[in-house]
C-alpha cells in the first residue's frame, strides 16, 4: 500500500513537471506587452531582467525552477496586483472559492444521497420515476442556466437575494459574516443542482446493484427485515464507490466553478483565471493553470487511494 502511494505520488510529480514545462514554454513564447504606465516601466524591466526574460527559453525554465525551489517564487503579477508574487495573488482568491463550494457540497451531499437511496429503494415505483426524470434533467442542463434561473427567480421576481456576491467591505470585512453568507446563497444554489443530481444518479445506480445481489437474499433469508438488510449490508457495500466520489468532490472544490464565479462575481480562483487571460497577466495565468492541473491530479490519486482505505478487501497496486 505504502509503496503504491509513493509510486502514485512520484508519477503525479512527473506528470506535473511535464505539464508545467509545456505550459511554461507555450506561455513564454507569447508576445509580452510593455506596461502601459510609464512609472512602472523601470521596475517591470528590472524584474524581467531578474526573471531572465531576455535569456533563451530553456534558461528561463531553469531560472523559474530555481526560484520555485529556493524562494517558492512562482512569478510575478504584472497587471492584476502589480509586482505581487503570483503565489500570493492566487492564495488570496482561494478562500471565497472554497467557501462557496464547501457550502454547496454541505447542502448537496445529504440531499443527493437521500434522493438516490429513496429512488433505489423504491425502484420502478413513482418516487423512482420522478427522481430519475429529475436527475436526467438536472444532470444535463448546464450550470450557468441554473445561475440565470436562480438570479431571475430570487432577485428579479422575489427580490430575496442580491444579484451578486457582496464584496468583503460590504459584508463587514470578512468572508465569514452572516451577510456574506446571505449573498452567497444564490451561487450555492446554482452550484448545488448539478451536484445533487450527479450524486443521486450515482447512488441510485450503486445501491440498485447491491440491492439485487445474492447476499441481500441471504440476509433476508436469515431473518433480517428489508430495512435492516438495506442499511447493514446494501448501504455499506454501495458506499465503497460513493465515498471516494464524495472525497473527489471535496478536492474539486478548490478548483471551483469558473462560470458560476464569473456570473455571481465571486472573487475566486476561477474569476482570477479569466482576469489573467483578459489582462494578459501571464505569470498569474501560469500559476492558475498549474493550480488547476495539480488539483485535478491530486483528486485522481486521493480517490484511487481512498478505495483501499474504505474497503480493506481492495488491495491497491495489484495487477
Amino acid at each position: 500500500m505504502f509503496k503504491y502511494i509513493l509510486k502514485r505520488i512520484g508519477l503525479l510529480l512527473l506528470t506535473l513537471f511535464v505539464i508545467m514545462f509545456m505550459c511554461f514554454v507555450l506561455i513564454r513564447m507569447l508576445p509580452r506587452e510593455m506596461p502601459q504606465r510609464t512609472d512602472q516601466l523601470e521596475a517591470t524591466l528590472q524584474r524581467w531582467e531578474a526573471l531572465g526574460y531576455n535569456e533563451p527559453i530553456l534558461t528561463q525554465w531553469g531560472i523559474y525552477l530555481k526560484n520555485i525551489f529556493t524562494k517558492w517564487d512562482f512569478g510575478t503579477s504584472w497587471n492584476i496586483d502589480y509586482l505581487a508574487p503570483a503565489w500570493n495573488v492566487i492564495a488570496d482568491r482561494l478562500l471565497p472559492t472554497v467557501l462557496v463550494n464547501l457550502y454547496s457540497l454541505i447542502l448537496s451531499i445529504p440531499i443527493g444521497l437521500g434522493l438516490g437511496i429513496l429512488a433505489a429503494v423504491k425502484k420502478n415505483k413513482w418516487p423512482d420515476h420522478i427522481i430519475s426524470t429529475g436527475i436526467m434533467l438536472f444532470v444535463s442542463v448546464p450550470s450557468y442556466v441554473y445561475a440565470f434561473l436562480v438570479q431571475y427567480l430570487f432577485y428579479f421576481k422575489l427580490g430575496w437575494f442580491p444579484l451578486k456576491v457582496y464584496s468583503v467591505a460590504d459584508a463587514g470585512g470578512s468572508y465569514f459574516t452572516a451577510k456574506m453568507f446571505y449573498s452567497m446563497i444564490p451561487p450555492i444554489l446554482a452550484l448545488s443542482f448539478g451536484t445533487v443530481a450527479g450524486l443521486a444518479r450515482f447512488t441510485r445506480a450503486e445501491l440498485t446493484e447491491t440491492l439485487t445481489s445474492e447476499y441481500m437474499l441471504l440476509a433476508r433469508a436469515k431473518g433480517l427485515t428489508r430495512g435492516q438488510a438495506t442499511v447493514r449490508h446494501a448501504m455499506k457495500n454501495a458506499m465503497v464507490p460513493i465515498l471516494p466520489m464524495i472525497i473527489g468532490e471535496f478536492i474539486g472544490i478548490l478548483g471551483g466553478s469558473m462560470i458560476i464565479e464569473q456570473i455571481f462575481s465571486i472573487p475566486g480562483v476561477g474569476q482570477l483565471y479569466i482576469q489573467s487571460i483578459n489582462t494578459l497577466d501571464y505569470d498569474v495565468f501560469m500559476m492558475d493553470g498549474l493550480f488547476y492541473t495539480f488539483i485535478g491530479l491530486l483528486a485522481g490519486i486521493v480517490v484511487d487511494i481512498s478505495y483501499g482505505f474504505i474497503d480493506p478487501r481492495i488491495r491497491m497496486g495489484e495487477r
Binding site: L11, T15, L30, F148, Y152, I259, Q262, G289, T293, G296
Partner: protein, 521 residues
C-alpha cells in the same frame, strides 16, 4: 474368415440396397428473419421511448438549424438593423391571436403614458393639420396596446401598460443628402406611406429636449405636454382631455417644413436633417414590415437566424470533434491494447500526461497562440482534439485486452492473418458498440464546453457568420435582465440539446449492451 466369404459381398447388386431411413431430415428453415447485432441494437433502442423522443427532438433541432436560413426569404444571416435591436418576437399574422406581438410591459407615470399615446397621434399628424387622441388610438402606429392596471402612487396615477416595442421606437432624426430626400419623397408618393414628418421648432421654448425626435408636441421645461389654445399654457392631463398641439417648424405662410438644412444656407449644404418615422423608414429600406418570429438579438440580427447559425456551428464543432476523437482514439487504443507490454506502457504515460492538463488551460493556450493565425474555430477544434481522444482510446484498449487472446483470434493468426487484419477485422468490431455510444455522448459535452468557453470570453466568436450558442448567451449576459428573450432562447436550446443527447446516448448504450438483452421484458 477366408477370401470366399468376402467375395460374395464384393458384387452386391444395386437393387439389394435399401435406404436405412426413408425420409431425409433437413434443418428446419427459420420463419423469422435473422437478426444481426446492429438490427438487434436498433430494435432494443426503439423500445426505449425516452431515447426515441430524444432522437426526434434532436432531429427537430437539426432540421430547424438547416431549414431556417432556407425558408427565410426576406433577408440573409447578415441582415442587421441596429435600431431594432433587442426587441421581442413580432409577427403580424400571429399578433392577431395575441402572441408574438412585441408587447413589453412598462409601469409608467402619466407623462410617459401620454408620451407613448402621443407617438400614435404624432404618426397620424403628418401635415400639421392636427390629430386627436382618438385618431392616435385608431392609428396603425398606435403604441399602447392595452392598460393592464391603474393605481395611485403618492396622489399620482401610475399605469402598467403594454406597449408595442417596435412602434415605440417612434421617430428618429436623420441627416441625409438632398438626393436621398427626393428619393424618399418619391417613394412616399408611390406607396402612400409617410416617412418624413415635419421638423420640430426647437427655438420657440416649447421644446425641452431637441435630441429626442418623439417630442413633437408642445411641452414645458419639465416635458409635460401643454396646450396653448386658451392663450396661456395649460398642462394637458388625461383627465382634462385637452388635445396635444404640434410644435412643428412652420414657414411664414404657416405651412409645416419637412427638413432643416444642416450647416450653411440651403444652396451650399446638400445635407438635410429630417425627422423620420422609423417604422415606415424600415419598410422603405427593406420592402417589408419588421417581423422577427423570435425577436432580434443584442446587435439587431434576426434571432431565429442567429439561433440556427449557433446550433449549426455548435453541432458541427461537436460532430467534428467526435469524429476526429473516434479516429485517433481508435488507432491509439488499438495499438496500445493489441501490442501491450512496453508499447502499452509508453503510450499510457503519454496519454496520462495529456489527460492531466485541464481542458480549459489547453483551450486558452490554443486560443492565445493560434486564434490570430487560423481563426478561433480551428484552434478550438485543436484544443478539443488534443485531449479528447484519450477516453475513446482507453475504451478501445480495454476491449482489445479482452478479446486479443480469444481462440478465434488465434485461429485467424494461424491462418496467416496480418496484425492489421486481426486488429481491425477481428477484434475491432467487438468495440464498436461502446465506441459509437461514447462518440454520441461526446457531443453534448463538447456543446457545453464550447458554450462555456465562448460565454467566458476565452473563445471570441463574432460577426454575422461565426456565432455559437455560447456567444449568444454571452452577448445577452450583461443585458438579459431587461431583455429576457435574448437569454431564454439560447439557454433553452442548449438545455434541450444536452438533455436529448444524453438521453439518446444512454439509449444507445443500453441498446448496444447485449448483456441487457431480454432484461427489459
Amino acid at each position: 474368415m477366408d477370401k470366399k466369404q468376402f467375395e460374395q459381398y464384393e458384387s452386391i447388386p444395386v437393387e439389394k440396397f435399401q435406404l436405412a431411413q426413408s425420409e431425409v431430415n433437413h434443418d428446419v428453415k427459420f420463419d423469422t428473419k435473422p437478426v444481426g447485432y446492429f438490427r438487434d441494437a436498433f430494435n432494443r433502442f426503439c423500445k426505449n421511448k425516452a431515447s426515441v423522443v430524444a432522437a426526434v427532438i434532436i432531429l427537430c433541432i437539426v432540421l430547424y438549424a438547416i431549414l431556417t436560413p432556407l425558408f427565410t426569404f426576406r433577408f440573409g444571416e447578415s441582415f442587421l438593423d441596429p435600431y431594432y435591436a433587442k426587441l421581442g418576437p413580432r409577427n403580424l399574422a400571429l399578433s392577431k391571436i395575441g402572441i408574438a406581438n412585441a408587447e413589453v410591459t412598462q409601469d409608467v407615470d402619466e407623462k410617459t403614458y401620454m408620451y407613448y399615446l402621443g407617438l400614435g397621434v404624432g404618426a397620424e399628424d403628418s401635415d400639421g393639420n392636427g390629430a386627436t387622441w382618438q385618431d392616435g388610438a385608431n392609428s396603425k402606429y398606435n403604441v399602447v396596446l392595452r392598460i393592464k392596471e391603474e393605481y395611485k402612487f403618492i396622489n399620482k396615477t401610475q399605469r402598467v401598460i403594454g406597449i408595442e416595442s417596435y412602434l415605440a421606437k417612434g421617430f428618429i432624426y436623420m441627416q441625409i443628402p438632398a438626393e436621398r430626400y427626393d428619393e424618399i419623397i418619391a417613394w412616399e408618393e408611390k406607396n402612400g406611406l409617410k416617412v418624413i414628418y415635419p421638423a420640430i421648432d426647437t427655438a420657440n421654448g416649447y421644446c425641452a429636449d431637441s435630441e429626442n425626435a418623439n417630442y413633437w408636441y408642445k411641452m414645458d421645461s419639465k416635458i409635460t405636454p401643454i396646450s396653448t389654445k386658451t392663450g396661456e399654457d395649460v398642462a394637458i392631463t388625461i383627465a382634462n382631455k385637452l388635445e396635444l398641439e404640434d410644435n412643428y417648424l412652420r414657414d411664414d405662410d404657416g405651412n409645416v417644413r419637412y427638413f432643416v438644412n444642416v450647416g450653411g444656407s440651403s444652396t451650399t449644404s446638400p445635407e438635410k436633417k429630417v425627422r423620420v418615422l422609423y417604422y415606415n423608414y424600415y419598410i422603405m429600406q427593406n420592402g417589408f414590415e419588421p417581423e422577427y418570429i423570435f425577436g432580434t438579438d443584442s446587435q439587431g440580427y434576426d434571432m431565429s437566424l442567429r439561433l440556427a447559425g449557433g446550433i449549426r456551428l455548435s453541432l458541427l464543432v461537436a460532430i467534428a470533434v467526435s469524429f476526429i476523437n473516434l479516429l485517433i482514439g481508435t488507432i491509439y487504443g488499438a495499438i496500445e491494447g493489441y501490442f501491450g507490454g512496453m508499447t502499452d506502457l509508453m503510450l499510457e504515460r503519454v496519454s496520462d500526461i495529456l489527460s492531466g492538463v485541464p481542458f480549459i488551460v489547453v483551450a486558452t493556450l490554443f486560443q492565445m497562440h493560434l486564434a490570430s493565425k487560423v481563426g478561433p474555430i480551428p484552434s478550438l477544434l485543436f484544443a478539443f482534439v488534443l485531449t479528447g481522444w484519450i477516453g475513446t482510446a482507453s475504451r478501445v484498449r480495454t476491449q482489445f485486452y479482452r478479446f486479443k487472446n480469444q481462440e478465434y483470434v488465434l485461429a485467424a493468426r494461424t491462418l496467416g492473418a496480418k496484425n492489421f487484419r486481426i486488429m481491425f477485422k477481428h477484434i475491432f468490431p467487438n468495440a464498436l458498440g461502446t465506441i459509437i455510444t461514447s462518440s454520441v455522448l461526446v457531443i453534448p459535452s463538447v456543446v457545453f464546453s464550447e458554450s462555456m468557453l465562448s460565454y467566458l470570453g476565452i473563445v471570441k466568436l463574432g460577426g454575422a457568420n461565426g456565432t455559437s450558442l455560447g456567444t449568444l448567451l454571452s452577448d445577452a449576459s450583461a443585458i438579459w435582465t431587461n431583455y429576457p428573450h435574448l437569454m431564454i432562447a439560447p439557454a433553452l436550446i442548449i438545455s434541450l440539446l444536452m438533455i436529448s443527447f444524453n438521453l439518446f446516448g444512454n439509449g444507445l448504450r443500453d441498446a448496444f449492451n447485449p448483456s441487457l438483452r431480454g432484461s427489459e421484458g
